[in-house]
């Protein structure tokens, strides 16, 4: 479906002059805007941006939030997301390349990645391939964590398997952090997304993730992380195994 929303309309009207050795041409800055999905905090469009396929992420104003708080949050999240994408790129992780940002409008434009989400293919591909993909995800997670970044929403919907490798997307909830707690939450979220949607491949997926993580982070760090993940799981409401704590055990 063709859309043009207020903050994007201006961008749609802009033109750029491209001068190359043999010719010069005028192309629209942004064109062919197509709505892909609407998330909890943003609209995701596919578009052309000066001749390349891109994803446009527009954090729309939330009618249920007070305006200044909403603006502040959209602004800071957009900015942080772009920063973290750059940092991740510089660490050699495959992520979308941020190309353009407009903080006032809450717009972030980044390169388009063609491929399928792990969520869609996890149960269809051979187990060895799945393991390889998830190992890569584990090593990415470890690399991010060693460099003080937590992804914040590491689910199978946010992992894209493309022809040239495995990509991590949607850094909308990512943060710069030094707390091992935040790292463990990443893994907890990943494990839970596996448990809730890919029950059949749960064991192999978890095992391969840890293998990949260990390759980058080393044995000690990986062990500590797994312990922290277990302790987070016990924190949900009314977890049965936690009962032990309230009993007198000698």
């Amino acid at each position: 479906m063709e859309v043009s929303l207020p903050p994007l309309r201006e961008l749609l009207n802009e033109k750029v002059l491209i001068v190359s050795a043999d010719k010069s041409e005028i192309v629209p800055l942004l064109s062919n805007l197509m709505l892909l999905s609407m998330g909890a905090e943003a609209y995701i469009f596919k578009a052309r941006f000066i001749g390349v396929d891109v994803i446009v992420k527009w954090r729309f104003p939330k009618s249920y939030m007070p305006r200044d708080l909403d603006e502040k949050m959209r602004r800071s999240r957009t900015k942080l997301e772009a920063k973290i994408l750059w940092k991740a790129l510089s660490l050699g992780i495959r992520v979308p390349i941020p190309l353009f940002i407009d903080l006032d409008a809450g717009v972030l434009i980044m390169s388009y990645i063609g491929g399928k989400t792990l969520r869609d293919i996890a149960e269809d591909i051979p187990e060895t391939d799945l393991c390889q993909v998830i190992k890569t995800v584990g090593s990415y997670a470890a690399t991010l964590h060693m460099n003080g970044i937590a992804h914040g929403d590491l689910t199978t919907s946010n992992i894209i398997v493309a022809s040239d490798g495995v990509y991590l997307i949607d850094f909308g909830l990512a943060t710069f952090t030094k707390r091992s707690e935040d790292m463990a939450i990443d893994v907890h979220i990943f494990f839970r997304s596996i448990e809730s949607t890919h029950h059949k491949v749960e064991d192999v997926a978890k095992k391969c993730f840890v293998v990949g993580y260990r390759q980058v982070a080393g044995d000690t760090k990986a062990e500590t992380l797994i312990k922290a993940v277990d302790s987070i799981r016990l924190r949900g409401r009314y977890v049965a195994t936690r009962r032990l704590r309230t009993e007198w055990v000698v």
């Binding site: 007070p66 689910t155 979220i189 409401r237 009314y238 936690r242 009962r243």
Partner: protein, 333 residues
């Protein structure tokens, strides 16, 4: 079929009697609530209160329904989750009644009961359920025979956050005055947002303890209480809205149901109404009377369960303080 339900998981002793009929399915709805003079609910004190009131409430319920004891077909009881000493009062009464009357005993999960009575009252079919109360904060969706927890609080519950803040800053108790929480009321005077209050959404989960600490610290620092209330409330409510919106998108459901004691907040309801509009979904809010703890919800869920053949042997009808909603098979859906 007539089922009696007993609720005693925290501060309310409630007895409900329901039938299958389409209209006026509630034959009796009697309850009494333990209100501490100060501070929060002390489990022992509350259970003592509940034990004292139990016989009277049961008698009143039968009177109201104009039924004799042996007119009922089954006895349902909330065996968890909740405060152990309090749950045991209801469980003891239920076991005694069941054994005396030789009627089957039906175990009911308190959280499932909140959801089921909500569905009955709002006529929603398959909503994203936002369960907010003093002890619970969870976004729940029905998937394959269970109510599954999509996101929940990793530390304290929303009601707990609001009540504790009110208590520490002498805004309450009572926490709810004329249907509005004292923190909501105090926030009305707020003019500006205070910087650096933590907004914690981790994937699909929320966490409030850091927010509480920050708010109390700001209070002790001498910030304007109205501004603190406003910032606290907006951040707490909006993090839940964000998780609920995410669940809506993820499950592709088209309805949202608000249930639990905190769901009565008009401010929260208004926010949810705006949110569902953005996603072209519909909102159902469980009427306050049935959003808080009550016996009717236990009786109604007990009736559904009993019809599906769920009963429990008296000898194994122990209370389960930590009985998660996603541990319960739902054979009637």
């Amino acid at each position: 079929m007539i089922v009696l339900g007993i609720e005693s998981s925290a501060h309310t002793f409630g007895v409900g009697i329901v039938t299958e009929s389409e209209e006026n399915f509630i034959l009796a709805d009697e309850r009494t609530q333990y209100i501490p003079e100060r501070g929060g609910i002390h489990p022992r004190e509350s259970s003592r209160f509940l034990a004292e009131k139990a016989p009277m409430i049961i008698e009143k319920a039968f009177e109201k329904a104009s039924l004799r004891l042996d007119n009922i077909n089954a006895i349902a009881v909330a065996l968890g989750p909740g405060l152990g000493p309090c749950l045991r009062v209801g469980a003891t009464v239920a076991r005694a009644l069941a054994s005396f009357l030789k009627k089957p005993l039906v175990p009911v999960n308190h959280a499932v009961a909140h959801v089921e009575i909500g569905l009955r009252m709002t006529n929603l079919r398959d909503p994203v359920i936002v369960y907010l109360s003093g002890g619970n904060t969870a976004v729940i969706a029905y998937v394959e025979k269970r109510y599954r927890v999509f996101g929940e609080t990793l530390d304290i519950a929303l009601g707990n956050l609001l009540d504790t803040f009110a208590r520490e800053t002498s805004l309450g108790p009572p926490y709810v005055v004329n249907g509005m929480h004292v923190v909501d009321r105090c926030a009305e005077g707020g003019r500006k947002f205070i910087e650096d209050f933590p907004y914690v959404v981790k994937g699909q989960d929320v966490a409030f303890s850091g927010l509480l600490t920050t708010a109390l610290r700001a209070y002790r620092r001498g910030e304007d209480i109205h501004n603190i209330c406003l910032t606290l409330r907006e951040i707490a409510y909006n993090s839940i809205l964000e998780v609920a919106a995410r669940c809506l998108m993820h499950t592709r459901k088209k309805e949202v149901m608000l249930v639990g004691g905190v769901a009565a907040s008009p401010i929260l309801r208004e926010k949810f109404a705006k949110m569902v509009e953005e996603y072209s979904a519909t909102l159902g809010v469980v009427p306050p009377q049935y959003a808080v703890d009550n016996g009717v919800m236990i009786a109604w869920t007990g009736l559904l369960a009993y019809k599906s053949g769920v009963t429990i042997d008296l000898k194994s009808a122990f209370v389960r303080q930590r009985w998660r909603i996603d541990e319960v098979e739902i054979p009637w859906r």
